[in-house]
Symmetry: C2
Subunit: 252 residues, 2 copies
Amino acid sequence: MNALDTPPECSGRVDRCLECPIRDRAVCTYCDESELSALEALKSYRRFAPGQEIVAADEEMSFLGSVVDGVVSLSKTMADGRRQMVGLMFPSDFVGRPLRPVAPYDATAVTGVTLCLFTRHRFERLLRETPALEKRLLEMALDELDAARDWMLLLGRKTAREKIATFMVILARRTASSRKMRPGDGLRFQLPLTREAIADYLGLTIETVSRQITVLRKDGLLVFEDARHCVVPDYVALLDAAGEDSDGGVIA
Amino acid sequence: MNALDTPPECSGRVDRCLECPIRDRAVCTYCDESELSALEALKSYRRFAPGQEIVAADEEMSFLGSVVDGVVSLSKTMADGRRQMVGLMFPSDFVGRPLRPVAPYDATAVTGVTLCLFTRHRFERLLRETPALEKRLLEMALDELDAARDWMLLLGRKTAREKIATFMVILARRTASSRKMRPGDGLRFQLPLTREAIADYLGLTIETVSRQITVLRKDGLLVFEDARHCVVPDYVALLDAAGEDSDGGVIA
DNA sequence: CGTTTGCATTGACGCAAATCAACCTTTCGC
DNA sequence: GCGAAAGGTTGATTTGCGTCAATGCAAACG
């Protein structure tokens, strides 16, 4: 029995999909108005508090859907407690494993989170009947796969300093793209994750995260207003510290 | 200009898709006979020698298709030469990035490889017209994503010994499943990769790979007939050394 | 108001894996 | 059959990051 098996609540609700803030990027992007009204009839909203578990690994998942608001982490835990984050989902990302009854990872609300949900059963039927949905889901899965592969390079080969710099670049890019702009000098963004979550993301310990953030701060690559708000004075220098060739300029 | 831009050769050719060895698992699995004959009209075969580059990162890819025979690695390289493998493709796996003109990684033939290819242009049109193809591609992308996430746990949190043990488990599983059986005690398999490739796969150096293989051998978890052929005397013990809870018994 | 609790920082120390280096074995071209 | 090259093993040494431990700091609480 997980949180998603309890009846959905109705907070953060957007009745009309056309007015939905993630309409242009979520799984429903390619749906026309009639398809959208089919979705409207079946969707429900659910709100999660920071730290709340959304689903546990290997548990049957009865709901899946889109992140409307907030940040969700996907993570795997070994028998002895070692943990690795394997996904970080922002608004418009799709949470849940379509076509399989169980998700092979824990999903946890990092911040307060609103999800737009469908029962797995209904969603899979919609998927069969709605090519627009399937096409978008394929696109999203392939994009996630690309991101996972960048992440593998980070985990396998980057130094702690490069890992932190890369993480900051990712947040900067995310923040910029959600404002439909390019990342650049002076960009200010929030760190939605605790040091522990950052460590789980990067395959480090909290102590190393803390130390390397200090290093980047002392090197002038990051300026902190407080522990959770950060400014990038020189974006290209940060990219360089991240070990990236250059920014392809993806607004994705 | 990459290898795939040269005209395809005709070796390893299987004229009739119905007789294809990967028919039951490849991207064309759900296609009916008429769809299959559309594929037959457009496909071509190409053979690659061990070590040969198939495509280079960020190059325009004019072909994509299925691995019919052999093993293909996908890898990313940093500016200073550090390299991380991000995918390892066996027969029936699909090589290439659908819906994007460039692949963000190098693809290299590890062993001798036969690919069943389509021009990207034609394949993307087929994809639009053939829901059976799209459905299977989505399934395969989601499965790859699951595999990538297991791999992230390995790269971020496992020790060198656990990494080697996990790698051997993966090969054992692959070998067993290609023979449509469960992995078990006494299973014998080949290592298709050099120590260097294994190191790139696991985020280690060749020396550490060599040492840890020796450790597992001395611990009795692996028995080597020669450097490239290995027997697993006790499968559960190997799983345990890999830090896996237990084997779900997936024949996928 | 002081205490607790959660989160973050900093320091000292140890260890696992990288690095540097030598050497062995097999394969391959000539 | 010889020399070179590629792949693999083993040893000595270094080092980056983890571990253990102490301290700071702010919000939450009785």
